[in-house]
């Protein structure tokens, strides 16, 4: 069992490391989250691993909010004595983020799932071969809302 992570300390440390102004996201009822610029993800995870000894990525949750249809939101959900998340916002025509499978090999399946379901491109990794969708699926990422499919 590990001690609970100090979100404030984490926030300060990541801000320090990346030189960005970071905000907390308080939308989640029972967990903390920090909004991270997409290009600072690897730096943030580096801080997590080296300074906070936090390794457990529970999952990557992606979603497209009705209020912000122009962006895809990625929640990197961690566990270290308590749950917390890093929140990324990617613009929709070409959502793109660097892969973290060299830092966290266990992120492989989560990245592939997000890539398939939301059409997010993960750069810096070989490819994201189909994991869940059929090999001949050609209708685009199923979770993306488009004009035609909207009721």
């Amino acid at each position: 069992m590990v001690d609970e992570i100090q979100i404030d300390a984490l926030l300060a440390k990541i801000a320090d490391e990346t030189g960005c102004q970071l905000e907390r996201y308080s939308g989640i009822l029972n967990e903390e989250a920090i909004i991270i610029p997409a290009d600072q993800l690897r730096a943030a995870i580096g801080v997590l691993q080296t300074d906070f000894d936090c390794f457990h990525l529970s999952t990557i949750t992606a979603q497209q909010r009705e209020t912000h249809p122009g962006e895809i939101e990625l929640l990197y959900q961690f566990w270290h004595g308590q749950g917390f998340a890093l929140l990324l916002r990617l613009p929709i025509p070409a959502p793109e983020v660097t892969s973290i499978i060299d830092l966290i090999p266990g992120a492989d399946f989560y990245e592939r799932e997000v890539a398939e379901m939301f059409g997010v491109t993960f750069t810096g990794r070989a490819e994201t071969p189909r994991l869940l969708l059929p090999g001949d699926w050609d209708q685009g990422p199923p979770f993306i809302r488009s004009e035609e499919t909207d009721e």
């Binding site: 009822l29 029972n30 967990e31 999952t59 009705e66 966290i104 266990g106």
Partner: protein, 360 residues
């Protein structure tokens, strides 16, 4: 010898559910493998967004055919948190009781499958014979052997009558004595040990790198258990003993399940002993206030995570399910190297595959 690639799945006697692996071998040595899921992908996450919360409870029960109850419990818990309602103590206890019985049944099923995989059919038959009693107990509680339809948002859909409670108590006691014999055999059987000891060891560092959860992580000495680390009631009132083993090999993974079965039966007894009186459910409104919530519980295979976002309507805006199998499965290609072809079943069994969970 030349490298050959053997397909395992989507149809193979080894697999109870469809999964496709291509394993490269040279003679009797395994060089590596790749994995493909999705044969039972039903799009439950997407379907859940198009249905009401009340319908979703029943939809989510269909994610898994073994640990269906823990899925609905976690989902209901998430909705209850958004609604800011609390399940009455009696409802919590019955909910946890079913969770623990489900763990007993899942672990017994797994132990049987492991024995089958190494050609020890006798142990397989005996374990599954005892598992029947676990299923009977659950049937006595909910009327269903696998799908219980026991949860509703705000509590349980039914109460236990005093006679039912007594019957469950008696049967749990019977199951405990019955299962001890076969568990002893599994713990001490030299033939089983010869096939599992030292096979495909995984270090604690690997477990952390691959974010592995559940019994597989605990078998490598990583001390995680969401029942203790992130307890929802009544687990916060229970003293859950987390069992770990340092070895990390297939035998440790077997022992973990044996010991956890015993621990779960003990928890069942504690739950039955301290079962409070009172109502089992509170009324819940149909519409859920806007908000986001994350809940985690310990399924038989490890941490299951639900992320739920409500937009204030009677349908969820996003339901994300992370099942433990998906987390453990990422370790599989890594494990499938430098082992014997004959060890493939043992390695696969060690993971305790639930493909329907992984695919959703």
């Amino acid at each position: 010898m030349n490298k050959i690639s053997i397909p395992i799945g989507p149809h193979h006697p080894l697999l109870k559910e469809p999964l496709s692996m291509r394993i490269d071998i040279s003679g009797e040595r395994v060089l590596g493998g790749t994995l493909r899921l999705g044969y039972v992908h039903r799009g439950i996450e997407k379907m859940a967004q198009q249905r009401t919360y009340i319908q979703d409870v029943h939809l989510i029960e269909r994610i898994c055919g073994i640990c269906s109850h823990v899925h609905t419990s976690t989902f209901c818990l998430a909705v209850e948190k958004l609604l800011e309602i609390e399940v009455p103590p009696r409802g919590q206890y019955i909910r946890a009781l079913l969770c623990e019985l489900e763990r007993v049944h899942s672990h017994l099923l797994w132990l049987g499958i492991l024995a089958k995989h190494v050609g020890l059919d006798t142990v397989f038959m005996h374990t599954w014979h005892d598992r029947e009693l676990a299923l009977d107990i659950m049937e006595g509680i909910s009327g269903g052997r696998v799908s219980h339809a026991a949860n509703q948002i705000g509590g349980m859909r039914f109460d236990l009558s005093p006679e039912q409670e007594e019957l469950v108590r008696l049967n749990v006691e019977k199951l405990k004595s019955q299962v001890n014999g076969v568990l002893d055999v599994i713990e001490n059987e030299p033939a089983l040990r010869a096939r599992t000891q030292g096979v495909a060891p995984v270090s604690a560092d690997m477990i952390r790198a691959y974010c592995v959860v559940g019994p597989v992580a605990r078998a490598s000495g990583v001390d995680v258990d969401m029942r203790r680390d992130d307890p929802w009631p009544p687990y916060d009132q229970l003293d859950v003993r987390v069992i770990t083993r340092p070895e990390g090999d297939a035998f440790a993974r077997t022992l973990i399940r044996v010991l956890e079965t015993r621990e779960s039966l003990r928890l069942c007894e504690v739950l039955l002993e301290n079962m409070p009186d009172g109502p089992v459910a509170v009324r819940s409104p149909r519409k859920v206030p806007a908000g986001e919530v994350v809940t985690r519980s310990e399924a038989p295979r490890g941490e299951v995570l639900y992320y739920l976002r409500s937009d204030g309507s009677d349908k969820p805006a996003r339901v994300k399910v992370r099942t433990p199998t998906l987390a453990v499965l990422s370790l599989l290609p890594e494990q499938l190297s430098a082992i014997h072809v004959a060890d493939i079943p043992v390695v696969l069994a060690g993971i305790d595959l639930c493909i329907a969970c992984a695919d959703r």
